[in-house]
Amino acid sequence: MNSFTAIVRRDLHMAFRQGFDSLMVVMFFVLAVILFPFGVGPEGNILARIAAGVIWVAALLSTMLSLERLFQTDFEDGSLELLVLSPVPLEVVVVAKVVGHWLTTGLPLIIASPLLAVFLNMHGDGYPMMLAALALGTPTLSLIGAVGAALILGARRGGVLLSLLVLPLFIPVLIFGVSAVDAALGGFSVKAQLLILGALLLAAAPLCSWAAAAALRQAVESS
């Protein structure tokens, strides 16, 4: 547990030192959403109808943008090799890195999302559900993304490749995340969607950390 918190603290430290990096992800999130009123026109009804979907898609894209750095710097400066050699199981290291990633990108996205919901004229009933769905969904995105980030280590044009690998796997989270908010806006029960989002998170936590650890081991072995 000590090493777990140590890794998380280290990643947070580094993120705060280069504070601009995680701020840029949030800026991208805000800008991507702001483009939509210009694209589809500023009519309140249309914007309110698509608000949940637009915010979720933008959150997906911004998470993906930040993923490339998840293991890349550690891989380049050799600290990844030390992490692989350390007595801590690599799966635990992956979870620690994912927690660090979520605290520096997922959490800021959730904090910024109500502002964007205001821009998109979302009805007040949707706000709590949007926050809850994002809180359940973004950790899953970070977990799935960690697998992709580990797989592309050492690849040519890793960033574009990462989007190809990770975005199709993000689709289930997107579907249930958006339908949770839409159900809340329509006054229906949201229990099913939230349960599925929670199930996705619970399934992704062991499976993705295991797959990402396997990919990291291979990356270190063959470099």
């Binding site: 697998v147 690849a155 040519r156 890793g158 490749l161 199709p168 796997l169 396997a214 291979q218 063959s222």
Partner: protein, 260 residues
């Protein structure tokens, strides 16, 4: 099954099988003999299936002649799915036992599976236009098939993204295993979600629900697609093994020149 049976019969059998076919030279001999047979069987099955499907079988009372698209659509979807399952098995065997031929099989399957997924989507949308009135709907089955197509593309991209081919092989094998969560979603999408795509009518509890006059050409076409898949897979695997040999020979040549 008792533990003794597993230890004394099952494990040696698996090991024997794995080691027997891990030898590329044996595979080359075996596949060289098999390919002409596979070609012949494919042509016969496809000929019979197409004749029965296009000329003998009746037009559907609701779908009229467009029902015949089924004879090329369902087998393509079948290959698209089973090819991915085969790749997942190959990737697991390759990662666990470092079986060289399993990796070759996984790598050679990917383009075939991608093409058949594309064909399943294409023939489905050509059928959808007269029947559903649209080329595309965001139905669960269609969406999950589209995801399968992107998984194939992502696999091929990741396989080719590294300067060291060994790293590409293992990394993409992990990706295949991760993506295999999509397979049960595709299979059961028509039962879990109540959407446009019709539920399964051939492989289902309680027997097939389609008439024998349509079932036979369909089964023949599925068999033809399967032998075609194995045929093309063998050709691709042989090419891949030969390419590896060529590369090794060329490397040796370069080393000898540098040494002398």
């Amino acid at each position: 099954m008792s533990r003794n049976f597993i230890r004394q019969v099952l494990y040696p059998a698996i090991n024997n099988l794995l080691h027997r076919y891990a030898n590329p030279a044996r595979f080359m001999r075996m596949s060289a003999r098999a390919t002409p047979w596979l070609a012949g069987i494919t042509i016969l099955l496809a000929g019979a299936g197409l004749y029965l499907g296009l000329f003998v079988s009746p037009a559907d009372y609701q779908q009229s002649e467009t029902v015949r698209i089924m004879y090329v659509h369902v087998p393509a979807a079948w290959i698209a799915l089973s090819c991915y399952v085969g790749m997942a098995v190959g990737a697991a065997v390759g990662l666990i036992w470092k079986h060289p031929l399993a990796h070759v099989m996984t790598k050679s399957s990917a383009p075939i599976g991608a093409i058949f997924t594309f064909l399943a989507l294409l023939t489905g949308s050509l059928w959808g236009k007269p029947m559903w009135g649209t080329y595309w709907v965001w139905d669960a089955r269609l969406t999950s098939m589209l995801v399968l197509f992107f998984l194939y593309i992502g696999y091929m991209a990741l396989n080719n993204a590294f300067d060291d081919p060994g790293r590409g092989t293992t990394a993409s094998a992990v990706l295949v295993l991760v993506g295999s969560v999509n397979i049960p979603i595709i299979k059961f999408s028509v039962e879990w979600w109540n959407t446009l795509h019709q539920p399964a009518s051939v492989i289902r509890a309680g027997g097939p629900t389609i008439d024998a006059s349509m079932l036979w050409p369909l089964l023949l076409m599925i068999a033809a697609y399967t032998t075609y898949y194995v045929w093309v897979l063998f050709i691709r695997m042989r090419t891949d093994i030969m390419e590896t040999r060529l590369r090794a020979l060329r490397m040796r040549q370069v080393h000898e020149q540098a040494g002398s």
